[in-house]
């Protein structure tokens, strides 16, 4: 199968630029990246369909040699429609995100952060138990105001996961 090099190069550069943009934080840039990737993929379907030929319209008993393969084009049409719908949806989502947060950046996982801080707290409380007897008044064991104090419940609660099993 002979391949149209121009199509391949254009598809590759569209995909490359698209991937670069998808790695951005801002949703609108990601969206542009997605659109570029979508176009690049559509072009690669043109490559997959083989060399260009006559329009694939056949009358009854007509000659079918030299026709373009119509199947990849049908697939590309479907893919284009889907990309359109996706674009609309992501745009709406980016707008909503901007409404809510004043920016449309892709955000971090909040719960992950909570769990990480809980884990830190766990470590701190153990360190506190280990160090209080030796270094009273050492305040490096936690955030001021929130760290464990004399209340035995605090250390207990911080180790809640271990306690309840």
């Amino acid at each position: 199968m002979s391949v149209n090099l121009t199509l391949v190069l254009v598809a590759a550069s569209l995909l490359g630029c698209g991937v670069y943009l998808v790695l951005e934080r801002s949703l609108s840039r990601v969206l542009v990246g997605i659109v570029m990737i979508g176009n690049g993929v559509s072009l690669s379907f043109m490559v997959a369909g083989g060399p260009a030929g006559r329009a694939p319209i056949v009358s009854k008993g007509g000659d079918t040699t030299g026709l373009t393969d119509p199947l990849p084009q049908a697939m590309v049409l479907t893919a284009i429609v889907i990309t359109l719908a996706t674009t609309a949806f992501v745009l709406a989502m980016a707008y909503r995100s901007w409404q809510l947060n004043g920016h449309d950046d892709v955000q971090d996982d909040i719960e992950d952060d909570t769990i990480r801080r809980l884990a830190l707290r766990d470590v701190t409380s153990e360190a506190y138990d280990a160090t209080t007897s030796d270094y009273p008044g050492d305040d490096s064991s936690g955030d001021p105001g929130q760290g464990p104090d004399d209340d035995p419940l605090a250390a207990d609660a911080a180790g809640i996961e271990g306690r309840t099993t």
């Binding site: 934080r25 379907f45 996706t86 949806f89 809510l100 909570t114 801080r117 207990d156 099993t165």
Partner: protein, 564 residues
């Protein structure tokens, strides 16, 4: 030729259209959706019986010549998956009707829920029936699009945040799927699965290996197999309970089904056993370690969901009839159990105001029915005999032991460890959420400093500057009040109230509506029933596995003529 085959796709699609037209008649809309899903269950049951007795049922849509048109195939595996998914979606729909989808959904376009849900069901059914890679792609897009809408229902801040990640990950996987379709078509000139099965064998090894790896990566993202699973626990828990339930039960299993179909039908000579076994191992272990660390029940369950995908991959990786039979049984078990658990969690959230472990307690005494409903599927998930989880795991371990390679034995060990750790995770949840009193929970939360449990509202990034009541972004200036207003409207979860304060204030919801309890209870009962009918079900799974590995029943029923 069997004209029943397209019905599981057609009925929900037509139902979705009709229920869109009935936007202003919510009552009729509800009954319509229930009727549609009820008839899908009936059709799927008939299809399963027919496929089991007479071999795969096929339809070439529009009677196009073979290999040109689109083919729908219902063999034993597809019909079984179809039946299970139809039953589960019916239960979830009944549950959401019982919930009214209004109480925690202020201002949400409720009327959109039913049509979208039906499209999701149609997409799932189409994915199981597709006998064509492109049709599989289209059904993935159908179910994904419905899931985008369901996940961001109401457009609250938390859901938009989770939805962003979900949508982007799935967009990328769809793109990857398209690329693999282009490659496959360029290499073989067809996308019909049965035709591909013949032509792929003629390709040079390296080309078919590349196609296989591309498809595998695509489906592994959908199925949440370890290195590609990180999006799942982040995005599922924020959705409304019935939505999370149906996502957790079905969407990942569609990916697993696609992997199973592809490995057995398209690439029987290249099982990639080692690669898949390693993926299964890492998925199990890392997933369950994540589950243990979680402080929210929904997230804990999302992590166990990822972890138990590892068992399914284990059965596929072994590339043997026993392994495939084990996976088939385990898929059925896992769809039921995971959906049931999330539905029960929806009830827990309603009763206790939260699913965060730090804020709830005492449910075993306060809501004994909920406690039982949670306990039974939780033990089933952990694989306690005599539940179906135990039977499924034993089946998979037997298959691994028959394989006998050191790695397979390692997987047996890892599977047993994962099972124990699952027990640890659910036992921890049980002890904290159901046994201690709400007062203890409250005091513990107070002591730890309420701030620790509060989510951080939106991370500030360099691009955003706050100044004199306005927030300056790259896009322009917004009044700070507007943002606060939007955030207040969008915050559906009041972080500073735990179960104890709710009870003290007398603001807890005392009664769980029967409309929600019954479907959840029915699914829990179905999951128990699975162990009662485990014998016949396992035998069916075994016959399905035999078909899959022989390939001829599928191939000869789809392609009746010789194709070059």
């Amino acid at each position: 030729m069997n004209s029943l085959v397209p019905l599981p796709v057609l009925l929900p699609i037509l139902g979705a259209g009709a229920s869109l037209a009935l936007l202003h008649h919510p009552r009729i809309q509800r009954w319509l959706s229930l009727a549609v899903l009820g008839s899908v269950v009936a059709v799927a049951a008939v299809l399963l019986v027919q496929a089991d007795r007479h071999g795969p049922q096929t339809v070439w849509i529009g009677s196009w010549p073979e290999t040109l048109g689109i083919v729908l195939v219902a063999d034993r595996l597809a019909a079984l998956m179809l039946l299970v998914s139809a039953i589960v979606t019916l239960a979830v729909l009944a549950y959401s009707v019982g919930q009214g989808m209004t109480e925690d959904e202020e201002g949400a376009p409720i009327s959109v829920y039913h049509p979208t849900f039906l499209v999701l069901v149609a997409g799932v059914a189409n994915a199981f029936l597709a006998g064509d890679l492109f049709n599989l792609f289209v059904s993935f897009e159908m179910l994904l699009f419905a899931s985008y809408v369901l996940l961001t229902l109401g457009g609250t801040a938390a859901r938009v945040r989770a939805g962003t990640i979900y949508v982007l990950v799935n967009l990328l996987s769809s793109t990857l799927f398209l690329i693999s379709l282009a490659v496959t078509y360029a290499a073989t000139g067809t996308l019909t699965l049965a035709h591909l099965a013949q032509r792929l064998a003629e390709l040079p090894d390296h080309v078919s290996l590349m196609i296989q790896l591309l498809l595998l990566t695509t489906f592994a993202i959908k199925a949440a197999v370890f290195p590609l699973s990180l999006w799942l626990p982040d995005s599922y828990p924020t959705a409304p309970a019935p939505v999370t339930a149906v996502f957790a039960g079905l969407l990942t299993k569609v990916g697993v089904y696609a992997i199973l179909r592809m490995q057995t039908l398209l690439f029987p000579d290249s099982p990639l056993t080692d690669l898949l076994l390693w993926a299964a191992l890492l998925t199990m272990i890392i997933g369950i370690l994540g589950a243990i660390a979680q402080s929210d029940i929904k997230r804990m369950l999302s992590f166990t969901l990822v972890s138990h995908i590892g068992y399914l991959i284990l059965g596929i990786a072994l590339d043997s009839r026993t392994g495939t039979a084990g996976t088939t049984f385990y898929v059925v078990h896992h769809i039921t159990i995971q959906t049931a658990l999330f539905l029960v969690l929806g009830l827990v959230e309603r009763r206790a105001g939260s699913t965060a472990l730090m804020r709830i307690g005492g449910l075993a005494r306060i809501a004994p029915v909920l406690a039982v409903l949670f306990f039974v599927p939780a033990m089933n998930l952990a694989g306690i005999p005599p539940f179906s989880g135990f039977i499924g795991k034993v089946g998979l371990f037997q298959a691994a032991q028959l394989d006998g390679s050191p790695l397979a034995w390692t997987l047996v060990g890892a599977g047993a460890a994962t099972s124990l750790l699952t027990l640890y995770a659910v036992a921890k949840t049980w002890a904290v959420a159901f046994w201690r009193t709400p007062r203890e929970a409250h005091e513990a939360l107070e002591a730890i400093g309420g701030a620790a449990a509060d989510p951080v509202p939106g991370h500030d990034t360099g691009a955003v500057q706050q100044h004199r009541g306005h927030v300056h972004t790259a896009a322009g200036t917004v009044s700070r009040n507007d943002i606060e207003e939007a955030r207040r409207l969008g915050d559906d979860d009041e972080p500073d109230r735990d179960f104890h304060t709710l009870i003290e204030a007398g603001e807890d919801t005392r009664h769980s509506p029967l409309g929600m309890l019954l479907p959840a209870g029915a699914l829990v009962a179905a999951s128990v029933l699975l162990s009662v009918v485990a014998g016949p079900l396992y035998a069916l799974g075994d016959r399905a596995a035999e078909d899959l590995h022989e390939r001829t029943p599928y191939l000869s029923s789809v392609l009746t003529e010789e194709h070059p």
